[in-house]
Amino acid sequence: MATNIELTQPAPAADLAPRLSVLEEVVQFVRKKPLGAGGAFIILVMLGAAVFADALAPYDPYRADYGAQFARPSAEHWFGTDEFGRDVLSRILYGAQIALFVGFTASLAGCTIGGLLGMVSAYLGGTVDLLLERVMDVLLAFPQLILALAVASILGPAVQNVVIAVAIPIIPRAARVVRATALSVKENVYVEAVSALGASRRRVVLQHILPNVVAPWIIMVTAQLAGAILAEAALSYLGLGAAEPTPSWGLMLSGSASAYAEKAPWIGLFPGIAISLAVFGFNLFGDSLRDALDPKLRGR
């Protein structure tokens, strides 16, 4: 009996890896991945701007002040005003809401649908796999933005349509990644073992395959976020995304910016910086997260 007890007792955790508190994990992440932490910081600032836009924005983003058109950046208007006298800073803060909303919903929706299809494809195999994969091939054959453009021009310009347009090209990409992971997990001996022990299909998928797929799925979501934000900006820039007078970064960059580049460069400059920073932040964070979560890369 004594041997049995010894056997079931877990080996002391300290010997393998120290269990860390959340704070310690964060500190370690910052120390090991300063770039990723920088990315996370940018994301946090952006989130803050989006959530607290009402409180932070000095002006109503829609309010036109016809006495203050093309005002230079000043104490009154930090980022200046646009051709209608609207405060550029306030519009950028509210623009963060749209960018994040489109980014998160499109990326989450695309990855979730793609992930589910990938799982189904991997687990069922055979004809289902073959058919689903060929559909994904077709979708993958189009460059991401071209496909989004096609969808957006069919649906017409509106924020919810942009979400759909941006989400669709993400589906095949997520499906591929999840399917590949699920396939390799499926072949593991322990999966064979639980199946042999009579576990239901549901149990195998939900308890044994799914947890193993979550890590790449999360990486996929963060990686696509940056692309989704950029796609939203591109669609709005091309007149297929949000429509005036909605404060969208891409839109702010398109209409007014090029026409008034000489007269009032700040109209285009600040939304441009906002887009670049957001994409940069999400990319840095996504990369570091992948490194942190990928066991093969861990510790390098």
Partner: protein, 538 residues
């Protein structure tokens, strides 16, 4: 008592504009006497689009007329120096019978088409038959302007006669339309759509070459019937849809004129760089940007709601704000203000939406909305064309104004074809941005769209009183009497807010100063023949 002009800032500004335009016209009209025209040189120009086809009878875009007008002659024309005076082109003289039912035109002798064949009355008849009574499968955009005409006759080779069923006040103006270019009969007999892809004209220039999306060129017609014209050896248009590309072409001297319009911001930059080498002719435009209200859908079946919409817009502020951004400037009703038929400002200011006191208008709008059962306003979609200038900027201003009276409006930009389809063909809209642009201030052209069942009546309303007044004004030859009827139509449409005019456009015609003798008319369709234009040596 204060001086009149200080009490009436609008009147003052109108006067200033009128004086400026007047002196500009007079100055330009005198210019040829002061300088001796020089022969030679090819005029380089830029244009923003390719024509859908080359047949001016079937098109209504500047992209057609600017390119082909120099290749053709018309029966009458608007005086290049004195808009809207009507003068002859092919016609040397004309007589209108006392009963107003017969118009007789005498044609220039010795006019030749570019293929060498003579131009006779038969060609004019064939052309107008095509315009007024188009054969099956042939589009004729301006057919409705000639409902009075019953027949065209060519009794001999130099006489053309138009027979009417009722006297028409606008016929002469419509015969001066730049779109009604004269085609040789023998080609029309072969195929009425021949001129969609071919050019055989009698104008001051002959077609030299056209490369779609790139260039359109004409060369001097040595056999042109006007002696010593044209001055130019030819003209060449570079085609680019990008405003910034066209502006850069002017700025760098690769092209010398943009006949339509360049945004003020670009014009400022060009002027700053080129100084005296550049001339900007700012002209009012026979075009108005407004909103069509769908009178058949709720809540716009209620006159109170429609009135609230128009009351909610402060047009005087809008004119100040949008002018520098888009060129939209003058407050007016359904006919261009300051034109022969336009309503006097004092009269206009009594109508809803045109009051000077914006706060009072807004209070009234809110009151009407509450009365109509919308004390908290409502949500509505404004369909629009996905063109930045002036469509999107116009919408931004409107939406901002409507927010102040509680109406929450979503702007929905559409592709040109979809926008046309929803507005004109199917009526699938609640509110839609709808411009009204014609080649001259002709009441038939501008007011026809408010008649029941007109294809241009995007708002789909019907008022028998308007219909009756419209057909009466079209037959009224006495201008004073006619103007009264026209003002009545304006009053009824505006008081019932069937349709909502916004602002009248102005344009910047930008050209190098070395391009001489071109007077910009108040639209970009007329005075495009270029026969009097010449280039000064540098």
């Amino acid at each position: 008592m204060r001086p009149l002009l200080r009490r009436q800032p609008f009147l003052a500004s109108v006067l200033v504009i009128a004086l400026t335009v007047g002196s500009l016209l007079a100055g330009a009209g005198l210019a040829p006497a002061a300088e001796t025209p020089r022969r030679g040189g090819v005029l380089l120009a830029v244009i923003g689009a390719d024509p859908p086809s080359l047949d001016a009878h079937q098109e209504s875009t500047f992209a057609n007329i600017e390119l082909v007008a120099p290749l053709y002659s018309t029966l009458l024309q608007l005086d290049p120096y004195h808009y809207p005076k009507i003068i002859g082109d092919l016609a040397t003289e004309w007589k209108i019978a006392p009963d107003g039912l017969t118009y007789t035109f005498k044609l220039h002798s010795g006019v030749k088409f570019h293929d060498g064949s003579p131009l006779t009355a038969a060609d004019v008849k064939a052309t107008y038959d095509k315009i007024i009574f188009p054969p099956q499968g042939v589009r004729s955009i301006r057919k409705n302007a000639y409902t009075a005409v019953t027949a065209i006759e060519a009794p001999d080779s130099s006489t053309v006669v138009f027979k009417l069923k009722f006297p028409s006040a606008s016929l002469l103006a419509n015969l001066a339309s730049p779109w009604n270019v004269i085609y040789p009969k023998k080609y029309l007999d072969q195929d009425p759509n021949y001129f969609k892809t071919h050019v055989v004209g009698s104008g001051p220039f002959k077609l030299k070459g056209y490369t779609r999306g790139s260039t359109f060129e004409g060369e001097r017609n040595p056999d042109y019937f006007v002696k010593d014209r044209p001055y130019l050896d030819g003209y060449k248009f570079y085609i680019s849809p990008e405003t910034s590309v066209r502006a850069a072409a002017i700025r760098s001297g690769r092209a010398w004129i943009e006949f339509r319009h360049l945004p003020t911001a670009e014009v400022e930059a060009i002027k700053k760089q080129l100084g005296d080498k550049i001339t900007v002719q700012e002209t009012p435009m026979t075009g108005q940007w407004g909103v069509a209200i769908n009178n058949t859908v709720k809540p716009f079946t209620d006159v109170r709601v429609r009135k609230a919409l128009t009351l909610g817009i402060d047009r005087y502020t809008m004119g100040k704000v949008l002018y520098s951004l888009t060129g939209l400037k003058n407050v007016g009703g359904l006919i261009r203000p300051d034109s022969e038929w336009g309503m006097a400002a004092a009269e206009l200011e009594k109508l809803p939406g045109f009051w000077r006191d914006a706060e009072k208008s807004r209070a009234e709008a809110k009151h009407l909305l509450a009365e109509a059962g919308y004390p908290n306003g409502f949500k509505v979609v404004l369909k629009n064309r996905n063109v930045k200038l002036p469509y999107q900027d116009f919408a931004v201003f409107l939406i901002q104004e409507w927010r102040k009276i509680g109406i929450d409006v979503e702007n929905r930009p559409l592709e040109t074809a979809a926008w046309f389809n929803d507005g004109q063909n199917t009526g699938n809209f609640e509110l839609i941005v709808a411009p009204t642009v014609e080649f001259m201030d002709d009441p038939d052209q501008f007011l026809g769209r408010y008649a029941t069942g007109s294809t241009q009546n995007w708002g789909r309303f019907s008022d028998p009183q308007v219909d009756d007044l419209f057909s009466r004004q079209a037959r009224t030859l006495d201008p004073v009497e006619r103007k009264k009827l026209i003002n009545q139509i304006e009053k009824i449409v505006l008081e019932n807010a069937y349709s909502m005019p916004g602002l009248w456009w102005t344009r910047n015609l930008v050209h190098w100063t070395k391009v001489k003798n071109y007077v910009a008319p108040p639209n970009h369709y007329t005075n495009q023949k270029l026969q009097d234009v010449w280039l000064a040596e540098e």
